[in-house]
Symmetry: C2
Subunit: 132 residues, 2 copies
DNA sequence: CAGGATCCTCAATGATACTG
DNA sequence: CAGTATCATTGAGGATCCTG
């Protein structure tokens, strides 16, 4: 999502590193990694339900197809967010789990969630009450 | 991106509030708000280049079309991230600026960017050196 | 100047069937 | 069981022209 074809020369140095207008923006990189329709859901299940088999994972991520589950897992593994462990027994057994990278990501996502909550409510009243 | 058609019953209460599998997940809400191809770039420019006119904004967000700039601005305004101020003079003058909501968002995005940077490097060596 | 209206394209995703 | 292979779909985004 967010391609980086542009060659912007941002005058505000303070925003260097977070502006997607820049080349190699880590932020757009982040969105590439966790973007897509299923990535976060998959990470969520992997995180809460420990090492889990492909078929069980598919049951927990409701509505996902083989195509998407497979490709998502492959990308997540490539990016170092998911471990794949294969047991060569019959029938085949493969277990997926989240890496420590995901642990680091969770608190950030929680912050993002809290922000979104605040945004949704700001249209109504300006409550200062924190949920966490 | 991340639609919420599913009616998952997540057994792990600890992840309530961050799991996109859940209904009304604030996280997927957040991604709806800042997702899309241009939202972050637009916010970035609005943040660094203060109140800015439509045409100037379009010049700074390289490659964006009228369709996308207009629709993105409209959505951002609806979500309370952007202020639109119209001066009824001829020729028409409209100025856009970022709201305080965006200020709260920036540090979170910076964290996300730092995380992505770490992820990208973890494939090579396991340096403990922080960049910030 | 600041958009609206239309039509079009393509990449992400879905559906279905098959295999090591 | 854990995927692959193919084909179909679709909606975000793009191109172009038009207007208050």
């Amino acid at each position: 999502m967010i391609t980086k074809k542009t060659t912007t020369r941002n005058t505000d140095e303070a925003l260097h590193g977070i502006c997607p207008c820049m080349e190699e923006c880590p932020l757009s990189k982040a969105i590439e990694i966790i973007g897509g329709k299923w990535k976060l859901q998959i990470l969520c299940v992997l995180k809460s339900d420990g090492p889990i088999r492909y078929s069980e994972l598919k049951k927990k991520v409701h509505g996902i197809t083989n195509t998407m589950l497979t490709s998502s897992l492959k990308e997540l593994e490539t990016d170092g967010l998911v471990n794949r462990k294969q047991y060569n027994v019959m029938p085949l057994r493969v277990e997926y789990s989240a890496t420590e990278m995901v642990d680091d990501l969770i608190p950030i996502l929680i912050q993002l969630g809290k922000w979104a909550k605040k945004v949704s409510q700001s249209g109504k009243v300006d409550v200062a009450g924190d949920t966490l």
